[in-house]
C-alpha cells in the first residue's frame, strides 16, 4: 500500500503535466484558427481585430466566422474523441471507432431520412442524428456479440466498413429522390466546420452535458470492465448496465457531433490511440487526455483544410481520413494486436 502510493502520485503528477502541456498547445491552435483563414484577412489584421482595434471587415470575419467555427471544432473534437475512447473501452477493441463502425453513418442516414420526410429545424436534426447513432451503436454491439466476431477486432471493423458503405449508399439513394434535401445536405455530408453558427452549438450543449455526466459516473466501472466481465461483476459492478449507459453516452456524443459537423471518420480512432500512447491503457487517464487531444486534432485539420487550397476550402473529412488511415494501418500491422 505504501509502496504503491508514491508511484500513483508520480503518475498523477506526470498526467497533469501532460494535460497542461496539451492544453497550452490547444490554446495556441485555437489562436491560430482565429488568425489564419481562407479569406484575405491576414494574421496581422485578425490580431488587431482580436485586441479590439482593426477594421470592421476583420472584426466581422474573426468574430462571426472564425470564432464560432473554432468553438464548434472544439466541441466536436471533444465529443468524438471521448466517444471513440468509450467505444473502444466497451468493445475492448482498439479499432472501434464511431466513424469506422457505422455509428456516424447511421446518424447521417437518419438525418437524410428526416430531411426527405420534410424536416428542416436544426434541433430536430440533432435528435434524429442521435437516434440514428443509437441504432448504429446497437448494431455494432450486436455484431460484437455474435460468436466469433467480437473476439476478432479486425473482423468487427470489416463488418463496420460494410455497414458504413451500405448506409452511405442508401443515403445517396435517398438524396437522388429529393433535390431539396440533396442541396441542404450536400455540404454537410462530407464533414465540415464551415458556416456553423453559435446557435448550433447551443442546441447540442444539453445533450453533451448529459453525456458528460454519464461519462463521469461510468468511468470507474468501465475501468473495472476492462479487466473482464467476471472481474467487474465480482467488484460489484453491473456489466449490462454499464454497457447500456456507455452506448447512450456514445450515441449522444456522436449524434451531436455528426449533426453539427457531418460524419467525420477516424477522429475517434486517432485520439484515443494518441492518448493511450501518452498515458497507458487505463480508461480513467486516457479520457482526461482525450479532452484536449480531440479538439487539437479537429481544429488543426480545420486550419489545414482552410489553407491547403486557399481561396476555396477542403472538406474536413478528407483531412481526418488522410491522418487517420495511416494510424489504422499501423495498428493493424502491429505484430501483436493490442486488446483492451
Amino acid at each position: 500500500m505504501y509502496a504503491a502510493r508514491p508511484s500513483g502520485l508520480f503518475q498523477a503528477r506526470r498526467l497533469s503535466a501532460r494535460l497542461a502541456g496539451l492544453l497550452a498547445l490547444l490554446v495556441l491552435v485555437c489562436l491560430a484558427s482565429l488568425l489564419w483563414g481562407a479569406g484575405d484577412v491576414g494574421p496581422a489584421r485578425a490580431w488587431a481585430a482580436i485586441t479590439g482595434q482593426g477594421d470592421a471587415e476583420a472584426q466581422f470575419v474573426v468574430g462571426s466566422l472564425r470564432l464560432p467555427r473554432t468553438l464548434v471544432g472544439l466541441v466536436v473534437g471533444l465529443a468524438l474523441g471521448v466517444a471513440g475512447a468509450l467505444l473502444q473501452a466497451v468493445t475492448r477493441n482498439p479499432l472501434a471507432e464511431p466513424g469506422l463502425l457505422g455509428v456516424s453513418a447511421g446518424a447521417a442516414f437518419a438525418v437524410a431520412v428526416a430531411l426527405v420526410l420534410g424536416a428542416t429545424a436544426t434541433t430536430m436534426r440533432i435528435g434524429v442524428a442521435q437516434l440514428g447513432a443509437m441504432v448504429g451503436c446497437l448494431c455494432v454491439l450486436g455484431v460484437a456479440r455474435v460468436s466469433g466476431a467480437g473476439n476478432d477486432p479486425v473482423r468487427l471493423v470489416l463488418a463496420g466498413a460494410a455497414l458504413t458503405g451500405l448506409l452511405l449508399s442508401l443515403t445517396s439513394l435517398l438524396l437522388l429522390f429529393d433535390q431539396r434535401a440533396a442541396d441542404e445536405i450536400r455540404f454537410w455530408i462530407v464533414g465540415s466546420l464551415a458556416g456553423r453558427r453559435l446557435e448550433h452549438l447551443l442546441a447540442i450543449l444539453p445533450s453533451l452535458l448529459l453525456a458528460g455526466a454519464i461519462v463521469l459516473a461510468v468511468a470507474r466501472p468501465l475501468a473495472a470492465l476492462s479487466l473482464g466481465e467476471r472481474v467487474a461483476s465480482g467488484l460489484g459492478h453491473r456489466p449490462g448496465l454499464i454497457r447500456l449507459l456507455v452506448i447512450v453516452a456514445v450515441a449522444l456524443l456522436v449524434g451531436a457531433a455528426t449533426a453539427t459537423a457531418g460524419p467525420l471518420a477516424f477522429v475517434g480512432l486517432v485520439v484515443p490511440f494518441a492518448a493511450r500512447a501518452l498515458a497507458g491503457p487505463d480508461i480513467r487517464r486516457t479520457l482526461w487526455l482525450c479532452l484536449p487531444l480531440g479538439p487539437l486534432m479537429v481544429i488543426t485539420a480545420d486550419i489545414v483544410s482552410r489553407l491547403l487550397v486557399a481561396p476555396s476550402e477542403l472538406p474536413l473529412g478528407v483531412l481526418t481520413a488522410l491522418c487517420g488511415a495511416p494510424v489504422l494501418v499501423a495498428v493493424v500491422r502491429a505484430r501483436r494486436m493490442p486488446t483492451l
Binding site: V154, A325, R333
Partner: protein, 391 residues
C-alpha cells in the same frame, strides 16, 4: 481439369466436327484401345472428350467438369435473357418483338436509334466491365485465399479512381484516364501488398490494411475534386460513384481489347489457380512455381480492375458478388474463372437495368445499386457462423 480449358478445347472440337459433347464421345474411332480406356476412366461428374486432330497419331482427350459446364451454360443463358430485357426496358419501353429487328437495323427508326445508338453500347460496356470485375475479383480472392479480398475492398478501385480523376481534371499530366487508372490500380495494389508483407495475405489484417489504403485514396479523390472548378468536378463525378452513364469511348475500346487478353491469361492460369488454393508448400510440392504464378495472377487482376474502373468507376462489389455466385453454382473442384466472368457481367447488367428502370425519370448510378445489394451480402459473409470461411 479446370472448367475453362475444357470449354475452350471443346469449342475447338465443336468447330472441327460440328458435334455436341456426347456425339464426340460416341464417334471415337473404336479401334484405339487407348481411347476406350480414357473414356471409361472418366471420374464421376466429368465428361471425357477424346478426338483426333487431322493425321496426328496420339488422340487428344479432355475432361469436362459437368457441373461447372452446366453452371457456365446457365449463367450464359441468364446473361442473354438479361441482355434482352436490358434492350427492351427503359424510360421508353420497346415491344419485345421490335428489339431483334432493330438490332440489325430494321423496323421503326426510333427503335433502331434507341437500341443501336443508346442501349447496345451501354449494354456492351456493362457486360465488359462486369466480366472484368468478376474475373479480377475471382483471381484476387484465390491469390489471397480470402473471399473478402476483392479489388474493391482492398482499395485498388479507389486507387484507380483517384488517378483517373487526377488525369481528368488535368493535374499537369495529360495521360489518358485508362492509363492513369492502371497506374493507380498498380500503386494501390503495391501499397496494400507491401503493407501486408509482414503478416501475409491470409486473414483479416490484410483486408483492413487494404481498407486503410482505400480510405487514403478516397480522400485524395475528394481533395482533387475540391481543388477544381465545379464544371470540371462534375465531369469527373461519374468516376466517384460508379456509373455507366458517361463512358469514355477510348476506355471502352481499351477494355474491349484488354478483357479478352486478361480472360485468356486467367484461363491459361486456371490450373495453377486451383493449386494455389492450397498452402504454398503443397502447391510447390505439386510442381507449381508459386511466386512466379502469383505475380502473373496479381498482374492480370490489377490490369482488369484498372481498365474496368476507367470505364465505369469503382463498382467494386461486383467483384465480390460475381465470383460468389459462380462459386455457389459450379463445382468446388476448380476455380470458376469463366463462370465468374459471366456472373459478373450478369450482375452488372441487372444492376444497371434496375438503376435505369426502378425510379424511371431519375437514374440510379450502378455503383449505388450494387452497394445496396452487395452490402448486406458482405455483412452476411462476415457474420455467419465460420463454417466455410475461405474460398
Amino acid at each position: 481439369m479446370s472448367l475453362m480449358n475444357a470449354m475452350r478445347l471443346m469449342r475447338e472440337e465443336g468447330a472441327m466436327h460440328g458435334n455436341t459433347a456426347e456425339d464426340g464421345l460416341q464417334q471415337q474411332p473404336v479401334g484405339h484401345g487407348y481411347d476406350r480406356a480414357t473414356a471409361a476412366s472418366a471420374p464421376a461428374g466429368h465428361w471425357c472428350l477424346a478426338w483426333q486432330l487431322g493425321g496426328a497419331r496420339a488422340p487428344y482427350s479432355v475432361l469436362v467438369d459437368r457441373r461447372a459446364f452446366l453452371a457456365a451454360l446457365l449463367l450464359l443463358l441468364g446473361l442473354l435473357a438479361a441482355s434482352f430485357a436490358y434492350l427492351t426496358m427503359g424510360s421508353s419501353a420497346l415491344a419485345p418483338k421490335a428489339v431483334l429487328p432493330a438490332l440489325v437495323g430494321r423496323g421503326d427508326l426510333m427503335a433502331v436509334f434507341l437500341v443501336q445508338e443508346l442501349r447496345l453500347p451501354r449494354l456492351l460496356a456493362a457486360c465488359l466491365t462486369g466480366a472484368a470485375f468478376g474475373v479480377a475479383g475471382c483471381l484476387m480472392q484465390t491469390l489471397a485465399r480470402n473471399r473478402l479480398a476483392t479489388p474493391g475492398i482492398i482499395g485498388i478501385d479507389n486507387g484507380a479512381t483517384a488517378f483517373a480523376v487526377a488525369s481528368v481534371i488535368g493535374l499537369g499530366v495529360s495521360l489518358a484516364p485508362p492509363a492513369m487508372a492502371l497506374v493507380g490500380a498498380t500503386t494501390a495494389a503495391a501499397l496494400t501488398f507491401g503493407l501486408a508483407a509482414g503478416g501475409g495475405t491470409r486473414g483479416y489484417r490484410f483486408i483492413v490494411a487494404g481498407i486503410g489504403v482505400g480510405a487514403v485514396f478516397g480522400a485524395i479523390t475528394q481533395l482533387l475534386l475540391a481543388k477544381v472548378h465545379i464544371d470540371t468536378a462534375n465531369a469527373a463525378y461519374p468516376w466517384t460513384v460508379g456509373s455507366l452513364n458517361a463512358r469514355p469511348a477510348g476506355a471502352v475500346m481499351l477494355l474491349a481489347v484488354g478483357l479478352p487478353l486478361g480472360l485468356g491469361t486467367a484461363l491459361w492460369l486456371t490450373r495453377a489457380l486451383s493449386l494455389m488454393r492450397f498452402s504454398d508448400a503443397v502447391a510447390s510440392g505439386l510442381g507449381l512455381r508459386v511466386s512466379q504464378r502469383r505475380w502473373q495472377v496479381l498482374a492480370v487482376s490489377v490490369l482488369l480492375t484498372g481498365l474496368a474502373v476507367s470505364v465505369a468507376g469503382p463498382v467494386g462489389l461486383v467483384g465480390l458478388i460475381g465470383p460468389e455466385i459462380a462459386r455457389s453454382l459450379s463445382s468446388p473442384r476448380g476455380v470458376p474463372v469463366m463462370a465468374s466472368a459471366l456472373a459478373g457481367a450478369l450482375v452488372m447488367v441487372l444492376a444497371d437495368l434496375a438503376g435505369r428502370v426502378l425510379l424511371s425519370p431519375i437514374e440510379i448510378p450502378v455503383g449505388i445499386v450494387t452497394a445496396v445489394v452487395g452490402g448486406p451480402w458482405l455483412l452476411w459473409i462476415l457474420l455467419r457462423p465460420a463454417s466455410r470461411n475461405l474460398a
